[in-house]
């Protein structure tokens, strides 16, 4: 079990076998960049303007990028590694909390119409909720499930087409509070009385995310929405790809694990 929040060291020279040290470094860098890109894309999809409908073209392009990254990660096996790592390295209580907060009961229950009710704020929150949940689920499940992913942000557009689905509305009326509450929990981790959740966040070492000198490029302040959690996890900033990673602390753990696996 890897202790939470321990600063990861990026490939100590001595530990790498001699055959392909350069290759592994390059690959790690690529994986890191790819992971950052994935995180950045997920954040972009989550952030939505509460007042105006998000740009559908932009959402579709970002979603396609995420899908592409995911497919590549599935092909080179990193996706299943991530999934397994998540499974094996989280204590049951942590998982339970995360699932409760982030996930809807079951992704399979959801039709196209279901998550996307007519209540706008709910629509936005369902975006963040849904995409996080799908990430969670896709990480848990084997990679074949993974491709059905994402466009909950696109799904919010579908509201107008479901005027006829009045029966769904009563269900969804009961959900919003839960979901809104759910996302607010993510935003304000300190507010929750849940000890497991506190434990999950309290030991995150933000110094891990300090710039790695190997990566070069621009560092710019990312546009962030009102997500306190992401602030508390601090910036994960390879300089050319500046992003606040750690949509969820689980992904940080996975990065850690991936680095170990890829680096060794």
């Amino acid at each position: 079990m890897f202790p939470k929040g321990t600063k990861r060291k990026f490939s100590d020279g001595e530990e790498i076998p001699d055959e392909n040290p350069a290759d592994i470094k390059v690959m790690s860098s690529y994986n890191l960049q790819r992971q950052s890109l994935l995180d950045m894309s997920l954040i972009k999809l989550q952030l939505c303007h509460m007042l105006v409908e998000p740009n559908l073209c932009r959402s579709v392009l970002i979603a396609n990028t995420v899908r592409q990254i995911q497919e590549e990660m599935t092909q080179d096996g990193s996706w299943t590694i991530m999934a397994e790592a998540l499974n094996s390295n989280q204590s049951p209580s942590d998982r339970l909390v995360a699932t409760e907060i982030l996930c809807r009961p079951s992704p399979k229950d959801q039709d196209e119409e279901k998550p996307f009710s007519d209540i706008s704020y709910e629509g936005c929150d369902s975006v963040s909720c849904h995409s996080e949940e799908v990430v969670d689920d896709s990480l848990c499940e084997p990679s074949s499930e993974a491709p059905t992913y994402l466009p909950s942000s696109i799904g919010t557009w579908d509201k107008e087409d479901q005027k006829e689905n009045s029966e769904e509305e009563s269900e969804e009326d009961s959900k919003p509070e839960e979901q809104v509450f759910g996302t607010f929990e993510i935003k304000n981790p300190t507010a929750t009385p849940d000890p497991a959740l506190d434990e999950l966040f309290s030991d995150v070492d933000t110094s891990y995310y300090d710039l790695d000198t190997m990566l070069t490029g621009m560092q710019s302040s990312p546009k962030m929405g009102p997500y306190d959690l992401l602030d508390s996890l601090s910036s994960h900033s390879p300089s050319s790809i500046s992003s606040n990673s750690g949509c969820r602390p689980d992904l940080n753990e996975l990065d850690h694990i991936m680095e170990i696996i890829v680096g060794s």
């Binding site: 790819r34 932009r58 579709v60 592409q68 990254i69 706008s120 579908d158 509201k159 710019s220 500046s242």
Partner: protein, 447 residues
């Protein structure tokens, strides 16, 4: 190419306060009418400003052909969709002029959801000398009328009246990105992210859906419509572009719903240039038929392409607009600039194409000579009647004086909207909240 500028007059009349930019003043569309006499601009605040070209006078040859404000009106207001609890922006996405048939001018303006037809007419005469009304308009007593007179038309100060004639609403679930008037002058189309509707200019309560790419399951959505235009001569043909970099030519004679394209224009991807951003930068932001109707001009993030309608597998010409950004794509993705939608334009003879870039630069490419130029639209770098100086972006290597390095480009200063006069070498450039009009006095005839 040497260019004279008469921008001062326009800038001062159009600009509100050049110390700060109010969001509402950001110009969102620019369009000349078919003769070039009128130039319409739409802004983020829902206003339309029409400029008119002054007729050339022999007395002051320097003032010939300047554009002055002709009319200003509020086209769209912000709305609130109560069902979705979302605001509908009043920003004018597109303006298209109708061909002129009588003394009045007509234009279509659209925001995200509603298209409006406006009539712009002049009143410069007033009838005077009524028999039954006095000068204040009060009815005269019949007993006071002793003789009859024929009312005469007396000149008055010119008044430009703008009135909405049609409102085409409630036909689009998604955001309208394009409108295009058909060459039949009776119909027009409006395109949103997933659907294209065909309207009759006289009928507002119904429209025909001619393209629908919405998947049954929205989670399978991977492609959206980004622009659409009718062929300039063939009223049955239109083209639409997608976020995946494809162009589809459709023939309305083939079927009522043109989901099946007649031609598909797509350039195969270059495997050596492939990255996670390949798809995003291939997304076509604008498509324009040439005046001849033979060619198509498209703009994606880094290039402008000319396609021959007879060749579908690749463009006949590719122009690099700002290839130096290729190594910066990740940063541009992060700050969302990679999603900027640049427009493109043909000159009147289809020999030169123009498009905007960052740092208030815009580029022109001469298709015949293969020469290109980068120019800047800014008050600092241009004085009235001065010739625009070509600019250069250096990418490392040898740096000349006045070169701008890639890292010092201002990505907030983007030229998304440009327009070219249909007959002369006059261009209109929208730089955030400023409108620049450049004229080529030396070569006013087009080649």
């Amino acid at each position: 190419m040497g260019e004279d500028i008469d921008t001062r007059k326009i800038n001062h009349s159009f600009l509100r306060d050049h110390n700060y930019v109010t969001e509402a003043d950001i110009i969102s569309t620019v369009e000349f009418n078919q003769t070039g006499e009128l130039l319409a601009t739409g802004d983020k605040g829902g206003r339309v400003v029409i400029f008119q070209r002054e007729p050339e006078s022999k007395n002051e040859p320097h003032c010939q052909g300047e554009y002055n404000v002709y009319s200003t009106f509020q086209s769209h207001e912000p709305e609130f969709d109560y069902l979705k609890s979302l605001e509908i922006e009043e920003k004018i996405n597109k303006i298209r002029w109708l061909p002129q048939h009588n003394a009045a001018h007509f234009l279509l303006s659209t925001n995200d959801k509603t298209i409006k037809l406006w009539k712009v007419s002049e009143r410069d005469k007033r009838p005077e000398g009524y028999n039954l009304k006095d000068e204040e308009g009060r009815l005269k007593g019949l007993s006071t009328v002793t003789s009859l007179q024929v009312p005469v038309l007396m000149p008055v100060d010119l008044m430009v009246e703008v009135s909405p004639r049609r409102i085409f609403a409630n036909a689009h679930t998604y955001h309208v990105n394009s409108i295009s008037v058909n060459s039949d002058c009776e119909t027009y189309m409006s395109a949103d992210d997933l659907r294209i509707n065909l309207w009759h200019l006289g009928i507002t309560d119904r429209s025909f859906n001619i393209v629908d790419i919405k998947p049954a399951n929205m989670e399978e959505l991977t492609e959206v419509i980004t622009a659409a235009e009718f062929h300039p001569d063939h009223c049955n043909l239109f083209v639409y572009s997608s976020s995946k970099g494809t162009l589809r030519l459709c023939d309305m004679r083939a079927s009522a719903l043109c989901d099946q394209h007649s031609k598909l224009f797509e350039e195969p991807e270059d495997p050596s240039n492939r990255s996670f951003f390949s798809e995003i930068i291939s997304s076509i932001s604008d498509v324009k038929f040439s005046h001849s109707g033979r060619y198509l001009l498209t703009r994606d993030y880094l290039t402008a392409n000319v396609w021959d309608l007879n060749m579908e597998n690749k463009p006949i010409e590719t122009y690099q607009v700002h290839d130096y950004l290729r190594s910066k794509l990740c940063s541009l993705y992060e700050n969302d600039c990679i999603f900027d939608k640049f427009e493109c334009a043909w000159n009147g003879t289809d020999s030169v194409i123009m498009t905007g870039a960052y740092n208030n630069f815009f580029r022109m490419f001469d298709r015949n000579t293969k020469r290109d130029v980068t120019l800047e639209a800014s008050r600092e770098s241009s004085k009235p009647r001065a010739v625009l100086k070509p600019r250069r972006v250096c990418t490392g290597g040898k740096r000349r004086k006045d070169d701008i390095s890639v890292d010092s480009l201002d990505f907030t200063k983007k030229i998304l909207h440009t327009a070219w006069h249909p007959a002369e070498n006059i261009i209109a450039i929208a730089a955030t909240n400023n409108l620049y009009i450049f004229q080529d006095k030396v070569n006013s005839e087009m080649h």
